[in-house]
């Protein structure tokens, strides 16, 4: 038995550790360990690969690449702020997609040199290349949007779907030409040239796919790109006939698919609608000032001292955080407020809508960073029945996900979207900068509810003032 025969065993062990790693994520108590087990499995697989015959003279090149990539990855991961996590994930996602595409190109070139191109393997290679390249450029655009380097707004122009469709059709056509060549054994056009053109087309497609998608739809896009990279890696596994790549890539593909579905569902929109629909474009109503509503109902504005009094007389408080809270960096202030209330025997829970934040579960991470214990975070289905028992629902930086119109008004663009039943609470305090409508561009009926009190101001400032007022009454 030589060392090389042990490589598949090392890969098997790695595949098992990846499954264990994901399994560990079923609870916060086992998650850290699970992630470390998966990392150890990855290390085993990488070390084993150094002994593979295919690596032969490549060790110095690989070590140089590992050094550069390792330092970049480590530094990025250590320095990134939790609010910037979505763009960091987009970046790593793009890196994986790009690597899968490069592996596909190199493997295709190698098979071509050896004259062993055949149609099945070439199909897998093409899929790895195309999906990987789409994920690479799509993630780069998503990163740019999340980081604010390019406009986070939906970028649209006339004939857009035609252009995007045209790129897709050209990619498919050239791929068929390539496959036909691999099938017949002779190429009408130099296959490496075809590969180069297909790569460029796929990169363009990734850009065309993500550019028209607005910032608030990012949870869906990031999940989808995650699934793409997983699939690209699995396809690279088919090309290289490497089971480990197939298993790992497929696991990620499944994870990304599940999250994409959950996120679309939480916005009550189909994936197609997120990718190609112009949401909110038709209904961008002008921002209404804090004035009377259409039917004579008016908005009630209160100050921090009133809010403090209302909270101090409550027994059950539910905090509803939205992305506005993260933007204002108010999460630490909110935890301080919750600590104060709890020290007086008031129960405080957090209601987290699935799309609060810019990626799945983002709000949970932001609150965890502010030392909010995770057993106080409740998802929509768990918390909704509790709103009617809540004395105060404190809405901070959340808007559309609290709009009762989603339940009651079939004419509303967000009708049917699952929302947090904030309007069922006895009292509602909404901390909001202004009466500007949310992402969907529609007014929120919740603000006209007689039970609702508006506390206008920056989330961080307003929460800080409420804390000060509460301390005075101690």
């Amino acid at each position: 038995m030589t060392v090389e025969t042990l490589i598949p065993v090392a890969y098997l062990i790695a595949a098992v550790t990846f499954i264990l790693g994901l399994k560990g994520l079923s609870s916060p108590t086992t998650a850290v360990q699970g992630n470390r087990i998966a990392a150890a499995g990855m290390l085993i697989a990488v070390i084993a690969t150094f002994f593979a015959a295919d690596v032969n003279g490549g060790v110095p090149l690989i070590l140089a690449g590992v050094a550069v990539g390792g330092v970049a990855g480590f530094a990025g991961a250590r320095m990134v702020k939790m609010t910037a996590m979505p763009q960091m994930v987009a970046l790593f996602n793009g890196a994986g997609g790009g690597a899968a595409a490069l592996v596909a190109i190199l493997e295709f070139a190698r098979q071509r040199e050896l004259g062993v191109l055949e149609v099945g393997a070439s199909l897998a290679t093409l899929l790895a290349l195309i999906i990987g390249a789409v994920s690479f450029s799509g993630s780069a655009v998503a990163f740019g949007k999340l980081q604010g380097l390019i406009t986070p707004k939906a970028f649209r122009y006339g004939g857009q779907q035609l252009v995007t469709g045209g790129i897709a059709a050209a990619t498919a056509l050239l791929s068929l030409v390539l496959l036909a060549g691999a099938f017949g054994g002779s190429f009408a056009i130099e296959p490496m040239l075809l590969i180069a053109v297909i790569t460029l087309l796929a990169l363009a497609f990734g850009v065309a796919l993500v550019m028209p998608i607005g910032g608030a739809d990012m949870p869906v896009v990031i999940s989808l790109l995650n699934a793409y990279t997983g699939l690209a890696v699995a396809m690279a596994g088919f090309t290289l006939n490497n089971q480990l790549l197939i298993v790992a890539g497929t696991l990620v593909g499944a994870s990304g698919t599940i999250l994409t579905r959950l996120m679309s569902k939480a916005m009550n929109r189909s994936l197609g609608n997120v990718l190609f629909g112009a949401f909110g474009a038709a209904t961008t109503a002008g921002p209404a000032g804090p004035t009377a509503g259409d039917d004579g109902r008016s908005i009630r504005s209160i100050g921090p001292e009133d809010a403090a009094i209302l909270l101090s007389y409550a027994q059950n408080v539910i905090v509803v955080p939205g992305y506005g809270l993260a933007v204002a960096q108010a999460q630490h202030g909110v935890r301080e407020l919750a600590d104060l209330l709890e020290s007086r025997g008031i129960s405080v829970k957090y209601a987290i809508h699935p799309v609060a934040g810019r990626m799945p579960g983002h709000m949970n991470v932001l609150l965890a960073e502010a030392n909010v214990p995770y057993d106080k975070l409740f998802d929509m289905d768990q918390i909704n029945p509790e709103f009617q028992r809540a004395d105060v629902a404190l809405v901070i930086g959340a808007n559309d996900v609290t709009n009762p119109a989603a339940r009651s008004n079939p004419g509303s663009p967000i009708y049917g979207m699952p929302i947090l039943d904030v309007d069922k609470a006895q009292n509602i305090i909404v901390i909001k900068r202004s009466m500007k409508p949310g992402f969907a561009g529609i007014d929120n009926d919740l603000y006209l509810d007689p039970k609702t009190a508006m506390l206008f101001g920056d989330a961080k400032d307003a929460v800080g003032k409420v804390v000060q007022e509460l301390k005075k009454t101690a």
Binding site: A31, M88, V89, F92, N241, R335, M359, P360, N364, A368
Partner: protein
Amino acid sequence: MSGEAIVAAYVFILAIFVGFEVVSKVPSTLHTPLMSGANAIHGIVIVGAMLVASAIPGPLGTVLGFLAVVLGTANVVGGFVVTDRMLAMFKQRPVRKRE
């Protein structure tokens, strides 16, 4: 279909089932770490990159091989480190003492 291809197809299909089974048990609280953890796992493409890094002689092949290894490593290291950082924050009780 060749024997190798059919084995690969088996692995692919079974992995789909395992993936859906395992991931559907992840609570929504951990969806961000799930995504970054899954991200780290698809960094396994580093193994593929190592295997083809020096497959094509010449400067272009070398540059592409080098880039593939760089991207793959950044993906693996960054993914695992950032997930670890994030998961360390999920505690049941605040560690910071209240004054």
